[in-house]
């Protein structure tokens, strides 16, 4: 992957190499466009640079406990992410080197991976389609602006990306969680089967299934299968899960049309008032801090929800004094994330003679059951809904720390697994609100001279009400399913922590109230597209990456069509 070809202007420049940048690159290259991908972080080579992949527990210098003082000093935010640890730290940013600003007492946890492949290396891999329950939500209840698209617009693109990604899962036939063409699902374990039976019996209309997940249950497109190690965030040289490095960038590379430049921090998009077009991007070299420019005919911003907002806000011109493509004033606004980190857990009685083999890289899912629009549905005091992730397993040796006992008997007891435990965690929708926003600090910059992002985001009563219902319903379902010692929990969960941040350059029908049109094209600058999470006009309650991917592929098809038609 050379970085010095001067092949300008490129037919297309893609900013970012994460899950949407990878897709944009693949689709653009496969349509014959000479494409430059710019990544702000370091180069990572699939396989070779997964430096912790083969380390066994005893080969980790701190046995998984990591370097706690270092984490507190340099990774105060990142280290709170579930995937951060001794084996994955190198795929997260150093918070001290990459600061941003939040008001006192109002944290926003911005989890980032600045490297080739971005957060696609460390993502949670759940893949759900949205339905018209989601695309119609803003119009129905008046929060945010109406989506300019509906499920029928995106369905063929969900098909398109799922076919390449390889999504395993169970078909449920639910209109509000549309099926795709799935690879065989992962298995539920014995305890999950028991809880599923109990819940579905006690609550007709509710379902418990295995997640739909980008871990390959069989070989697919020359990748995988997944080997059931459940250590995805270390990187997987089997290509057992979908990432830009395992899948999209290699596909783009095979066309011979791709150039990747790493360590290239995009400072701003260059806009030509005379032609009313973006003409390229201005880049700061991460190492030398020198500025240079790249010219391109199409610009795709795939730099993440906050990263893209920062670039647009920092791209000011006489016409766009508050940021490029910001005639609506909505760039940076309507920031959202899912609520999570609340739910319930309990003990599943019995099944002492049963166990599992292998480490399944995913868990269970209870699809949304609130506000589906059914006439017999219980009325609730909040809008929208939530889904519940979960999973069961037998307690292992670590239970011994809180168990009385010493000596040979104690050791013998831990040689056998403990009781089956199950945990449920809700992921709930967040309403779009103008006041949740990011902007640029006027004084402080990072070490590359780029103004620091200020993030102001807080939950509202609706998210808090969802959170309460998640806890109550999770506990009721576990109790109805015969679980013992059922307890609710509610952990610290500030916005950002679900790592589903969205909304800072939303799609919409009206250029006065939205940044992007139905094709992820900015209303203001025809050859500038945004296809990462910034484009989202609402959040649904399901994990968003699959929708970003489908929107990206759809936007590329539109953009290339416009080029062909002579409109761009």
């Amino acid at each position: 992957m050379g970085g010095v070809t001067r092949d300008e202007p490129y037919d297309a420049i893609v900013v970012g190499s994460g899950i949407t940048g990878g897709w944009a690159a693949k689709e653009l290259c496969e349509k014959g466009l000479k494409t430059l991908v710019l990544e702000r972080g370091r180069h990572v080579e699939h396989g070779k640079d997964y430096v912790t992949e083969w380390l066994q527990p005893w080969q980790l210098p701190h046995r998984g406990r990591g370097e706690q003082a270092l984490y507190e000093r340099d990774y105060a935010i990142q280290s709170k992410n579930y995937a951060f640890g001794e084996t994955t730290r190198h795929f997260f940013v150093n918070d001290r080197e990459h600061p941003y600003i939040t008001p006192d007492g109002q944290p926003f946890r911005w989890i980032r991976g600045y490297q080739l492949g971005g957060r696609s290396l460390i993502w949670g891999r759940l893949c759900w389609r949205w339905s018209d329950l989601d695309f119609g939500a803003n119009l129905r209840d008046g929060h945010g602006v109406d989506w300019p698209i509906r499920y029928k617009d995106l369905a063929p693109w969900y098909d398109h990306v799922e076919r390449f990604v390889g999504v395993s899962g169970e078909r449920l036939g639910l209109a509000y969680l549309p099926d795709g063409d799935f690879l065989p699902p992962w298995e539920l374990n014995c305890a999950e089967h028991a809880v599923k039976r109990g819940i579905e019996q006690a609550f007709p209309g509710r379902h418990m299934t295995i997640t739909r997940v980008a871990n390959l249950t069989q070989a697919h497109e020359g990748r995988g299968p997944c080997r059931a190690r459940n250590q995805c965030a270390r990187g997987c040289s089997y290509g057992g899960y979908f990432s830009s490095l395992s899948a999209t960038l290699p596909a783009a590379q095979r066309t011979g049309k791709l150039t990747i430049v790493t360590d290239a921090i995009v400072h701003s998009v260059i806009y030509d008032e005379r032609t009313d077009r973006a003409t390229g991007v201005r880049v700061i070299d991460r190492n030398t801090k020198q500025t240079r420019e790249y010219a391109g005919r199409l610009i795709f911003l795939c730099a993440s929800t906050l990263g893209t907002a920062q670039i647009l806000l920092n791209s000011t011109t006489p016409r766009f004094a508050t940021g490029l493509a910001n005639s609506s004033g909505e760039v940076g606004h309507n920031l959202m994330d899912h609520i999570s980190k609340a739910g319930a857990n309990g003990t599943v009685p019995g099944l002492e003679d049963k166990y599992v083999y292998g480490r399944r890289p995913t868990g269970t899912y209870i699809p949304r059951f609130r506000n589906l629009g059914g006439s017999r549905e219980a009325k609730v005091a909040f809008l929208r809904g939530y889904g519940i992730q979960g999973g069961a397993g037998r307690d292992g040796w670590s239970r011994g720390a809180d168990m009385p006992g010493l000596g040979a008997d104690f050791k013998r007891e831990l040689r056998e697994p403990g009781p089956w435990r199950i945990s449920l965690q809700g992921y709930g929708e967040c309403l779009p609100r103008h006041e949740n926003h990011v902007d640029l600090d006027t004084q402080r910059t990072d070490q590359w001279g780029i103004p620091l992002l200020r993030v102001q985001c807080a939950w509202s009563d609706n998210e808090r009400a969802i959170r309460e219902d998640v806890k109550t319903q999770s506990a009721e379902m576990l109790e109805a399913a015969g679980c013992k010692d059922v307890e609710t929990y509610d952990h610290d969960g500030p916005p950002g922590f679900s790592v589903h941040e969205m909304g800072t350059a939303r799609m919409g029908r009206d250029p006065k109230t939205s940044v992007l049109n139905a094709h992820n094209q900015t209303h203001d600058v025809p050859n500038l597209f945004v296809t990462d999470g910034a484009c989202m006009a609402s959040t649904s309650c399901v994990n968003p990456s699959l929708t970003y991917m489908a929107l990206t592929a759809r936007a590329v098809a539109y953009a290339v069509g416009e080029v062909t038609r002579g409109n761009l």
């Binding site: 005893w58 046995r63 990591g66 080997r227 166990y355 083999y357 292998g358 040796w397 056998e416």
Partner: protein, 187 residues
């Protein structure tokens, strides 16, 4: 339910007798089991053989107290105990490399308190003392117990001989007879 693949082969399933035989060969003679187990453990616990290892965060005395208490928590049975796999070395390394100065000082202070009582006691009194602290879930003892478990069950012997470990399972079966796996999974 589907059938299980064969259990892991190779280093992970070398049985104890075979491991001891290999250790004896390496050392050129017949060794007592506890000593050989210690040698085996030493091979994995950060390289240095027992004789040349020096604690960095703890004094040699304090390291000895940690090793002695860890051994009481997870003693040698039909598999080596906490001392033999070098739990005290892991704890010392964690203190030296991972903990902040403040965390380290708090640990050392807790250890000094416990060590004074422990070292002036007879073996029976030591046992009674630890059982009382365990019963009360005394904070420092609770920490030491947890670190002992981490150090032991993430060691190669702890993970592969005391428990079961499959580095690359290859598949997931959600419901198998416990007897087919036999032991707690290490990971």
């Amino acid at each position: 339910m589907t059938s299980l693949p064969p259990l892991p082969t190779g280093p992970a399933s070398i049985d104890r007798r075979e491991a001891l035989r290999r250790a004896a060969l390496v050392l050129g003679g017949v060794l007592s089991a506890p000593f050989a187990a210690g040698v085996l453990a030493g091979c994995e616990a950060r390289g240095a053989p027992e004789g040349s290892w020096r604690p960095r965060a703890l004094t040699p005395d304090q390291a000895e107290v940690v090793a002695a208490i860890a051994e009481q928590i997870l003693p040698e049975t039909d598999t080596p105990g906490a001392r033999a796999v070098g739990v005290h070395r892991f704890i010392d390394a964690l203190l030296a490399e991972s903990y902040s100065a403040e965390q380290r000082e708090r640990f050392v202070a807790g250890l000094a308190d416990l060590g004074r009582a422990f070292q002036t006691s007879t073996p029976d009194q030591q046992r009674a003392l630890l059982e009382r602290l365990d019963h009360e879930a005394a904070p420092f003892f609770r920490t030491l117990k947890e670190l002992t478990l981490v150090g032991y069950y993430t060691s190669e012997i702890g993970a592969t001989r005391e428990l079961h470990h499959a580095p690359v399972p290859g598949r997931y079966d959600g419901c198998v007879p416990l007897a087919q796996v036999g032991r707690t999974w290490a990971v």
